[in-house]
Symmetry: C2
Subunit: 412 residues, 2 copies
């Protein structure tokens, strides 16, 4: 059969851009078989060469792999306005300007694929947009940043410090020389904004996502928790509450039976919970040139394959939901205390006044340098803060208790 | 906006059929929002009521939840011939008559959704058909039967016998009163035939899938292997070999680090491996009325949502590949021996003659009732059989060694 060409304009030629070019060449025959069109790269925009207007003119579909907000935003908008299907791996762009771009694509009946923007090759975007389109999703938990998962796995495996694990991640290429977007939680927050948008059909801007990173995590946090059967991960949460939704990223302990507890190294994983499905967990490499390129190629095929001329179904028109700031969590508390009679009673009293009850306690050391580690049953985060500030005032307690959230499946 | 009706004819009214009816009513508004059409059940065929011809006439889309080969085959064929989209959860049907039905759907440009036929709500069909459509898949490992996974998990947890665990599964509704299709491996074989078809674009009939069940598994097999760090599962494998493909189902040991090793209870899980993606693992409930109904509803929406008028892309025209019978596996061997000087040497010699080398050994007991448990590095299954038959002839060995395959990631 005679095949028309599928002219692909490639914006960005870094690790992923080059991997995509390579994969497309390798799989050209298969793409032709699936889409009825012979793929070719009609132009490449790099930092130093290529002109966007010219590439746009000569392309049927634009693949945006530049990253960052501008000029990617300008290029994607203009591509859609010019009637081109677009595939992007850009989480920053979509977590800030997603609604504008999804609306443009919807109005013009164009594909705007973004599987590669979240969790690399883990097909969470397609599963949310298609398999679970009819499902009322209650909650998503995700390990959506491979750098931080590698660092925490390394700290768990070798009992090393955060700094040592970060250096190892940088040496192996899992962390950038400036790792702040990853280790500070901003990268995961952008991805959770996108997942929350899909799960709840509500617009979620990255500025509405609360996030904390892993820079303050100590080897003690990991070692003590292990005794309690807990694994420490940087967890993104998007959940439906009775008065709105909450989207947040923070370090959290998981019990060993949680499907995300065993996800190690630089892998990503996402658990989706809903009454109708119980839960689905998906895991795989979250980054890497070939893996991200593979997700991009899947979107390219979906955009032009016969039987689905506009790729996946258009994104629905979102309905705003209130963002809830103060949520209920279980907590792990780590306190440096003087081991004197009555200390535990005083601490328990301050917790009790805020309605917090203690699930388990471990004490280590003697005299003035004892450590008290406990897990607290779920309560409002604001109440926990009141309790820890009161505890910090006790003579026998040195400094503010370290509080880390616990994902308590028994409660959930 | 004025909405046309989406008239759904429901064939079968058992657990899944009733759950689908319930879910559709609950999510009708959402379905209308996504598809632009108001869903309604236009007719229900039960064992005792309803007429197929009449339901077909009054429906736009047929949902087949009868199960078994006939009359489901006849109904699905006639529905497609009459120009109706079809959604089915029927693995037996597709593993026997899939090619005929997929070709019909392709020729008539109709949707034929079957996500619910394999691994329930775990979206493996959509991920293979869409996300990974452009990927050259090397191997799939799956836990695709919840009954057997529950039984093996229960035997691991409580050290009980196969019979006790089966009775418990029956009591809890995880096993049928006649469990032979599940525990014998035939159910998993049908599902692996479908997954292999999707992974390799080659026709695979259930008769080409070799399978073994779990009826012969003893508490010892689980207890000894645990000491070696191995978990026992009923594993389906579909893999590309240099001279063809192999599709098979058998009990297998997994090392603790394998992503399927921690999948417990009645859950299903599938790991897909390919060079471009490294690996993706998906897990979730493999059965249950609401869960299967949810997968069916996802297919119904995909079949009629705008932007994908024919559901997912049509199944490609398959290209036959040779089925390889004799494959390479690592093995666990369990032998009842008399603990006499030279026994281990004799056994090792018989193994060595077939090119098998020993990875690890554990001996238990003394005198005439000792047990020797070992893990053998990968070799052709036919050669392992020659070795075990020779070992069985030794005076100091009682009976044929028990051989169970080991999925050896280091080798793979």
């Amino acid at each position: 059969m005679s095949q028309s060409a599928l002219r692909i304009g490639l914006l960005g030629h870094g690790t992923v851009g080059r991997a995509f070019e390579h994969l497309l060449a390798e799989r050209a025959e298969r793409v032709a078989e699936l889409t009825g069109r012979r793929p070719e790269i009609s132009g490449v925009l790099t930092r130093s060469s290529g002109a966007f207007e010219q590439i746009l003119e000569s392309s049927d579909l634009i693949v945006e792999l530049i990253g960052g907000v501008e000029p990617a935003h300008d290029y994607v908008r203009r591509s859609l306005e010019a009637g081109r299907d677009v595939v992007t791996a850009n989480k920053q762009l979509l977590s800030r300007h997603g609604e504008e771009l999804w609306q443009l694509a919807r109005e013009r009946e164009l594909a705007l694929g973004f599987e590669a923007a979240v969790a690399g090759v883990v097909p969470v975007i397609r599963v949310l947009r298609e398999s679970l389109a009819g499902t009322r999703i209650e909650r998503i938990h995700g390990i959506v940043n491979g750098t931080t998962n590698f660092i925490l796995s390394e700290m768990t495996r070798t009992a090393c410090s955060y700094e040592t694990a970060l250096a190892e991640a940088q040496r192996l290429g899992y962390a950038e020389s400036d790792p702040s977007d990853d280790v500070g939680g901003a990268d995961a927050a952008a991805k959770m904004a996108i997942l929350a948008r899909l799960a709840f059909d509500a617009p979620v801007h990255i500025d509405e996502v609360r996030y904390e990173g892993i820079e303050q995590i100590t080897p003690d946090d990991i070692a003590y928790a292990r005794e309690l059967g807990l694994a420490l991960k940087l967890i993104g949460t998007a959940e439906r509450l009775h008065d709105g939704i909450s989207v947040r990223v923070h370090p959290a302990y998981l019990y060993a039976a949680h499907p995300l507890a065993s996800v190690g190294g630089s892998f990503n994983a996402v658990t989706v919970e809903a009454e109708a499905i119980t839960e689905i967990t998906m895991s795989g490499p979250g980054a890497g040139g070939p893996q991200t390129a593979s997700a991009v190629l899947g979107d390219v095929i979906a955009a032009v394959a016969p039987g689905r001329p506009n790729g996946a179904a258009p994104m629905t028109n979102p309905v705003p939901l209130p963002i809830v700031e103060d949520v209920v969590s279980a907590f792990y508390l780590h306190m440096e205390v003087a081991d004197r009679p009555g200390v535990l009673a005083q601490i328990a009293q301050h917790l009790g006044e805020q309605g917090a009850s203690i699930k388990s306690v471990v004490q280590r050391g003697l005299g003035d340098n004892a450590q008290l580690v406990m897990v607290i049953h779920p309560l409002l985060e604001s109440l926990l803060r009141v309790a820890t500030e009161a505890i910090a005032e006790l003579d026998a307690v040195h400094g503010l208790p370290r509080a880390i959230r616990v994902i308590d499946e028994e409660f959930e």
